[in-house]
Amino acid sequence: MTAATSALSTRFARGGALLRAREVGIGVVLLLVFGVTTLHNHNFATANSVQQLLSGAALIAMLGVGETLVIVTRNVDLSVGSIVGLSAYVVGDLFKDHPGTPVILGFVVGIGIGAVIGAINGFVTAALRVPSLVVTLAMLYIVRGIDGLIVNGVIITSSNIPNAFIAIGFRTIAGIPWLAIIAFAVVVIVAYAMRSFRSGRDLYAIGSNPEAAALAGVPVARRVFSAFVISGSLAGLAGALFLALHAEVDVTGGTGYELLVVAAVVVGGVAIFGGSGTVAGAALGALLLNTINQALVASRVSAFWNEAIAGALLLLAIAFDRWLSLRVARGLRSAEGAHRDL
């Protein structure tokens, strides 16, 4: 390799550096948004406000972790919103009908529901080879329907939920909300697994080049199945936390979350075509979107602008990713072509 190409390749292609750049980039934007808004409205930087920011993003961040696993394998899970709703309600119902239920059991039930639905998604996608878009779309309907049946018009209110459970929704430790800590723990654990275990690397391989993955002996179906089970379980967990956070739930719990999650994940640098992206990035994406949302409110920008800005952001993120990969490819191609005429 000539000096020119090796220098170029180091600059363009140290994978780790590039990845870290994305997360750092989001972090920078996050700080910028935070800073600019605080200038406008000093209340934005109060402890209370920051706690709200963290809590508000926690659920989506958690969903983002699960969604990242699925998207990395070139699939998508559109049923997460419905799982959140169902899980939240069933847990609430459990507390309502059995007031002595320990808090931990509530979580177990919530996660369990998510795991079961995730398993169905995973089975149909991996074993029956049905496109995940369709499967999870169908499950979205079915789960919403089941949720509606169970809800039957009855709203779960805070009186039905044990205080210890609700406490998780607003309590803080050293100023940091429990919710944020839980979300952070989830991100750290999954990120570590994705990085340090073979099964985690397998997911990236499957998304990067499915044929090569199969050739290399990666158990593709099993891994994809696991990804969906984890995604479902995390959605179930998020459902339980939803209940804790809002202290009430009706039939509309979690509606629309699936699109929010995909947006957060894409903004966070997870390629929609699979193979790359980190759960940390997804979580940061969720935090960024929520911060922008709240920043607009704090800046007295009409709340009506929120969605449009979110949509525009998402489009920008997608286009930027694409532009970036094209630029890298072109840079390397011309470097190659230049010394090809030797």
Binding site: L149, F273, F304, I309, A310, G311, L314
Partner: protein
Amino acid sequence: MTSEPATQAPRKREYTGTETSRRPVWQRALRWETGLVVVLVATLIFGSARSSDFLNSTTGFYIGLNMGEIAIMALPLMLIVITGEIDLSVASMLGLSGCVMGQLHSQGWPIGLAMVAALAVGALGGALNGVLVARLGLPSIAVTIGTLTLFRGLAEIVLGARTITDFPAWMTNIGVVPVPGTQLSYSTVIFGVLAIIFGVVLHATGAGRAIVATGLAPEAAQFAGIRVNRVKFGLFVLSGVMCALAGILFTLKNASVSYDAGTGLELNVVAIVLFGGVSIFGGRGTVIGVVLSVVIFGTLQQVLTQMQVQPEVQNIIIGGLLLVSVVLPGGGEAVGRLRARLRTGPHLARAPATQPAPPSSSDSSMQSEEKK
């Protein structure tokens, strides 16, 4: 050395590599539509069993009224899915265009002009999708989730929290009275006409062939002179305009519009298109299938509502139908794979360890392993 005389009788199934031959497209399509007809008949029977005056024109009117806008949006989405893309922004454009029309009208614009403006907005929105997907090559699922949010957001900017209800009565009547001389709602008739046009275009024009080829084999289509990017761009613009049309009808039918009009409908539209036999992989689908799917969904909804089945159960049924519609073919193939594995063992067929090479090795290798 092979010595096959040039005039040998034709072998209909030749070894073509590792694929098995597929049945021709129309044959496969017909099977799906036949199934849909069966389901439709079953639904109608079910409905009339439940309620003696089910099969009358009033029911037809209401089914058409409820499904009209969704059905109109399903037509361009069908074409988009056939080319291998997807458009999730359909319902948001419905809302946005309705809001634009409502806002302009409330500011004094004549309703006709406001409608034109709404359609223009649809075209622009579709063009945005088209540029991002066809020109920049961005993945349509991600792009249209972005535009879904963007359009909804723009609708919110246009109307804020207001609801516009001030529409000319003679226009909002389309939500109440059928087209004179028929028992069908306006949206049904419009859908019917559009369905015929789409059907003709897809199945009987060069443009339709180009669309199918784009979905089945984009590279081969390019080599045949088809401008794949143009086709996709055009379809997204078409989708935008037709969703705007649906938005206009939706608004007038309800005689009101607010920013969240039609939220969530995109999933219904996608479900209907997929259930209609349009393959998510692209290249396959018929207008008849989508029409049947629309009618089935509408009828089913009507029956269940009359039975006072909650909307939730209806959701379960819709989801279940969608799931079945993709699991059946997928499951069939999975079973086929399983059977093949059981037959030949987990690895490829074994050749005998030592086999003396016959003097004319060509002869014995004529009976090669045809099935792989």
